[in-house]
Symmetry: C2
Subunit: 286 residues, 2 copies
């Protein structure tokens, strides 16, 4: 009944006998609580967040719905293990393009072990985390010409510099060939990034909350972006933003999450730049 998620683009993958998340056919995502403190911390966050009256309703919609912890058969064959039961964000999409963007100019935080600090800062400096305030963690784009999914190798994605990240964000909303070096046409930019229900408007709503919220610090958390490629009505792209991965969330203690907020605003500027350049192209008739 449970199977390996088809559209997961980052994080641990439940393949080849490894422990990872599973999905059912009713729109639920089962994320194993790992042995260390991270799983516990993420479940604790979901418990706290679900019952926190200070979180506005329109912000709650940017988080996967949480259905508690349940014992299910683990993907690595180790028997029944506790899993967080979450909303499977992509389950209602037929041909979803998906991108995972880890937000923040650091993934470590005060009071972590030296070992964890060293591991994180090395990766933060090697990727665009430090320079841009975010890094693309994974993506999967439906290729209309090939009628299949294009998915760059994880090592290629993590090696992106500023230009690589910008190109990936352009390819994500383009209709032309993805695997080669042709210039992305950004054909879907206005439908996916733009508009009153588009990615940009959703990010701006999150931004307004992060400007003042001091409840949580979302260390090493990602923005997941999804939209539909199944044809049948132009307005059916259903672009959606969700925040995911809360294993390193801490209490805000009265301080805003300046690390997430700064990175989110940098990411927003990238999206705005793409929208502006594609608007100009249309107006100029190119």
């Amino acid at each position: 009944m449970l199977k390996v998620p088809e559209h997961q683009v980052a994080g641990h993958i439940a393949k080849d006998g490894k422990l990872g998340p599973l999905v059912d056919n009713q729109g639920r995502f089962y994320k194993p609580l790992q042995g260390d403190a991270r799983g516990e911390n993420e479940a604790k966050f979901y418990e706290s967040f679900s019952s926190n009256k200070n979180v506005p309703d329109h912000i709650r919609g940017y988080f996967p719905v949480y259905h508690g912890v349940q014992l299910v058969e683990a993907s690595d064959g180790s028997g029944k293990l506790p899993h967080m039961v979450l909303e499977d964000v992509v389950s209602s999409y037929v041909k979803p393009s998906v991108m995972d963007v880890k937000i923040g100019s650091r993934t470590w935080y005060p009071d972590v072990s030296e070992e964890y600090f060293n591991k994180c800062i090395k990766k933060d400096r090697a990727t665009t985390t430090v320079s841009l305030g975010f890094r693309v963690s994974g993506l999967k784009i439906f290729d209309c010409q090939e009628s299949g999914f294009w998915r760059p190798d994880k090592r290629v994605v993590l090696a992106y510099k500023a230009d690589g990240a910008r190109t990936a964000l352009r390819k994500f909303v383009s209709s032309n060939s993805l695997a080669d070096d042709s210039v992305p046409d950004c054909a879907y930019a206005s439908e996916v990034y733009g508009g009153s229900n588009g990615i940009l408007m959703q990010l701006l709503e999150l931004k307004a909350w992060f400007e003042t919220q001091t409840l949580y610090h979302f260390n090493s958390c990602s923005v997941l972006m999804v939209y539909e490629n199944e044809s049948g009505g132009d307005e059916e792209r259903r672009p959606q933003v969700k925040l995911v991965d809360f294993a390193h969330v801490l209490d805000g203690n009265g301080v805003i999450d300046h690390n997430f907020f700064g990175g989110l605003c940098s990411f927003i500027k990238f999206i705005q730049d793409i929208l502006e350049s594609s608007d100009n192209r249309c107006e100029n008739g190119h």
Copy 2:
């Protein structure tokens, strides 16, 4: 003719035969170009900034006026050395309270040497730079009761945690005894932080610019806050914000300065919290 500045609260001090900035009696501040690349880089920034048509006029006012580089007798007795000639921000104040707050959740930046990175990250983790996105670098407060200046030791200031930084920002606008542990009364909060010309409004104007500007990345740069304590008319506090210290400014290359922006917004939240709590106290008659 040139002398050691009376109200400098952070940075190299021109005392005991050391190299440091000097001031004249006409409102000019002479900052020596040090032997290494930092002085050169700061002068280069001032040259670029002064002539940059993309900087709005109302933002230009938050930077010291730059009058070029001039050879003057250095404070360490080493003869004539090139100095940047800048506006002496505090020269028009009789009894200024001054605070220097270094903005950002890191003071290092991509492509620095390992030596510089190690030095910075150690200090960033030991101070509130990582946790709050800013650290108090130095302060000097006019004590009305003692009729003199109160200035905590640099080591004490750099050891502040979140509570220490919050208390310093409250003491900065308080009329009661500074050196002891009494609760700061925030008597001048509404005059200095609040109001249409107050510190908060100035910070919000800067914030709006940093939200989209991609011209410069202000690494390791400070917000300097000043106000007047000389009595003679309530409206004469003249609260003022200036950005200072540009030795580590880099080109923005189309990316917003998410590090400065996030830290600035965290700092703004601290100021807003003080204003709100002192408003409430007045309304409640305490």
